[in-house]
């Protein structure tokens, strides 16, 4: 079979050396019971934060809005359990900042908010794309793959752009994570329903489901579920990191390259994760907003598991549910080993984008000592974006942001392939991230100055 793949770079040995998926890939998703309290962060998406709209002492039901978005690029936040709001205060967030959380005392009844409305397919057929989009917005759906970009924003295509391809991300190219895999196996019908709903909103010519060839069962399940749905097609891709990156996925499935610095819509595509599709189906057909998700709890825990967990459950509760830590644990990561964010405290709470909780022991989590750059060019070969990571990192270390920008630092997707292959174990992505932050700051300052000058 001719396997699809993106055109350049990437790392393939990753999957043989650090597979890790075997820990959990055969384990069905189990429900993780919510604890006595859940603490739901008001920041759960890329873009604007939410404003808490409940008061202490107020009774809430599952799916009731507790945070309203402060801007277009944001999605509301809902209660994931029923019970009484006992506090609204700042707690440590997975992004490392102190941010407002709404703390709800779980009454254990999971009483569903009566305002929620489920739709039958007949009712759906009568809905306009805008009305469906509104349901997605109201359900607080954000990209479940980890980037947490609000889905309704992706679905509002500017009038001057035409989207003819809906690309569904089932690649799950991060080692260790199996949440999307289990979802595709166990809830393939939900994913397909979500795709049908998204197709009604976007009316694309085709919906392509991209899955890597190391997940043959998921491919089969999705092909089975998608049978008879016009326009839906499963694309089998070669297993290569970062296949699940938006731009690489689009290239693998459609052969199109998103122009540098532009969005997928500029290539006529919208990319949605399989988890997001299932969430859309939940929201429209069952009326349930995004209040839970599937997360892989794996690595150095006694019983690695795939769990369905309510938003606002703490990492420590999830880890206890999986038998607790095993051995000499060194790193706690929200997400996968390639792009996940390390946590220094396991008291943080699961958000809509927590695709995995990975615990690494001392053997894995060594922070290698850097040696000098050999100039071997392995990072240049590995970069899926066609950049010269060694140069960007070099200029970043010299704090020369102009040269870093000249070497296209802003095109970096931070996939980590360069750091992965570096024989000198240099922290290349770290340097590039710093450069990106500084270049962004300089650009904003320039824009602000121009605005001032214009007045």
């Amino acid at each position: 079979m001719n396997l699809l793949k993106f055109s350049r770079g990437g790392v393939s040995p990753l999957h043989s050396e650090h597979e890790g998926k075997t820990l959990t890939e055969k384990k069905p998703v189990v429900e993780l019971p919510a604890g006595k309290t859940v603490s739901i962060p008001m920041v759960q998406n890329l873009g604007a934060p939410c404003r808490p709209v409940v008061t202490v002492g107020q009774e809430v039901g599952v799916g009731e809005v507790i945070g309203e978005p402060l801007g277009f690029v944001a999605a509301p936040v809902h209660a994931s359990v029923s019970g009484k709001v006992i506090a609204v205060r700042d707690l440590l967030h997975v992004n490392g900042k102190l941010l407002p959380h709404v703390i709800i005392e779980n009454d254990g009844e999971y009483r569903v908010n009566s305002a929620l409305k489920a739709h039958t397919w007949e009712e759906v057929a009568a809905l306009s794309p805008e009305a469906l989009g509104k349901i997605v917005l109201d359900a607080g759906i954000v990209g479940a793959g980890g980037a947490t970009f609000p889905t309704h924003v992706k679905l509002s295509i500017p009038a001057d752009k035409k989207v003819d391809m809906l690309v569904i991300n089932g690649a799950e190219c991060e080692p260790f994570l199996t949440a999307d895999y289990r979802l595709m196996l166990e809830q393939s019908q939900d994913v397909i329903d979500g795709i049908r709903l998204l197709m009604q909103i976007l009316s694309p010519d085709k919906a392509l489901i991209g899955i890597e060839d190391n997940k043959p069962k998921a491919i089969e399940a999705m092909q089975q579920a998608g049978k008879g749905v016009p326009g839906v097609q499963v694309c089998v891709m070669r297993t290569k990191y970062p296949q699940g990156s938006e731009k690489q996925l689009i290239e693998a499935c459609t052969g199109r390259q998103v122009p540098s610095g532009k969005l997928p819509a500029d290539a006529g595509c919208v990319v949605v994760n399989v988890g997001t599709c299932a969430a859309v189906a939940d929201a429209v057909l069952r009326g349930m907003p995004m209040v839970s998700r599937i997360t892989t709890v794996t690595g150095a825990v006694r019983e690695p598991k795939n769990v369905r967990v309510r938003i606002g459950t703490s990492f420590s509760e999830a880890i206890d549910f999986c038998g607790g830590y095993e051995g000499d644990v060194k790193k706690l990561i929200s997400g996968g080993p390639m792009m996940g964010v390390t946590q220094f405290d396991d008291g943080v709470h699961i958000v809509k984008g927590t695709s995995g909780i990975l615990v690494l022991n001392a053997g894995y989590a060594n922070y290698p000592d850097e040696s000098s750059c050999l100039h071997c060019g392995k990072c240049v070969y590995a970069c899926p974006m066609g950049l010269m990571p060694l140069k960007i990192d070099l200029w970043s270390r010299k704090k020369n942001w102009e040269m870093a920008e000249d070497y296209l630092a802003m095109n970096c997707i931070e996939c980590g392939s360069c750091s992965y292959v570096c024989p000198s174990k240099r922290h290349i992505v770290q340097g590039i991230r710093l450069a990106k932050a500084e270049i962004g700051r300089i650009r904003r300052e320039k824009a602000a100055k121009q605005k001032e000058g214009g007045k």
Partner: protein, 313 residues
């Protein structure tokens, strides 16, 4: 407090297995077939030459680190590789102090003063060879054959004299030449190992081979254009050693695919120019050294095509 034991760092949290040390070890292993052949062809003395080179390199690296108050870098094995490479391109008959001096020069002058591994702008082994060749030219070009005691011309000299050696003699090393360069089969086995281990890629070597063979074919013959013998050019002298072990030295060659090919190609052509028109019969060393100097320039102007650039729909 249990939480305090978590380490926070930037992603990625897993790294590949290849390290500087593993790469250098692979290069040593790749040079082993050639070294073993030298043992068979030139006797134990050739290994003494190799060891002298390696000793010179390692002692100098250790001393430089001490002097500059830097951590000891011997365990990355790069000094061993430099020494071995230099030894491989010495004649098998040199007095033992000569390769030692070469090793000292390679590390003490070419590598460490510029900052050590990754910072030198010339290939240390080749620069040291050029130094030895300029300082002790007769010792560095005496190829008397230690085993069958026949002193003769190297294949390149023979070609210039109009009495070329046979291909199989070239391939299997029944000719005179430097310790590690005579047996092309051994070199190719080593190169294949490096390719399989993903230590080197083929861009620079292919460029170099095309450059050498192309130039030799077009201009290398003495009967006019296109009468040269490209295969002979490749199988004689240090062409294959240069292509697979010298030209693609990480630090002193470009880091982009196109740049690497260009560097190899130019070095190959320049090798041909020196061989054909220069006073020396062999040009690999000087050609590669010249292109080493050009590497920053190549890297500056040849960049890979970024994803999404110029292919806008």
């Amino acid at each position: 407090m249990e939480q305090a034991k978590f380490v926070a760092s930037s992603s990625p949290h897993v790294r590949g297995r290849q390290t500087v040390q593993s790469i250098m070890l692979d290069v040593c292993i790749a040079l082993l077939p050639s070294a073993l052949f030298a043992l068979y062809r030139f006797g134990a003395y050739s290994w003494a030459v190799l060891f002298s080179c390696v000793a010179g390199s390692m002692i100098t690296e250790w001393a430089c680190n001490k002097l500059m108050k830097k951590p000891n870098s011997l365990k990355d094995l790069s000094a061993v590789v430099t020494g071995l490479m230099l030894g491989m391109c010495c004649p098998p008959t040199v007095p033992l102090w000569l390769p030692f001096v070469g090793g000292v020069f390679a590390i003490g002058i070419v590598k460490m003063p510029f900052g050590g591994l990754g910072h030198n702008f010339l290939n240390p082994a080749l620069a040291a060879r050029a130094f030895l060749l300029a300082s002790w030219p007769s010792m560095m070009t005496t190829w008397s054959n230690a085993v069958d005691a026949v002193s003769g011309a190297t294949p390149l000299e023979a070609y210039k004299l109009g009495q070329p050696a046979g291909y199989s003699d070239l391939l299997f090393g029944h000719v005179d030449g430097s310790i590690g360069e005579v047996c092309k089969i051994a070199l190719l086995v080593g190169a294949a190992y490096l390719i399989i281990r993903k230590v080197i890629n083929l861009n620079t070597p292919v460029g170099f081979v095309v450059g050498v063979a192309g130039f030799a074919w077009i201009f290398g013959g003495y009967g006019g254009l296109f009468t040269g013998d490209p295969l002979y050019a490749l199988l004689s002298g240090g062409a294959l050693m240069g292509a697979f072990f010298m030209c693609n030295d990480y630090t002193t060659s470009p880091c982009t695919p196109a740049g690497q090919f260009l560097m190899g190609l130019l070095a190959g052509i320049l090798t041909g120019v020196i061989r054909r028109f220069g006073a020396y019969v062999e040009g690999v060393t000087y050609a590669i050294l010249f292109l080493n100097v050009c590497t920053p320039l190549i890297d500056r102007y040849i960049r890979p095509k970024a994803f999404g650039e110029g292919k806008a729909k």
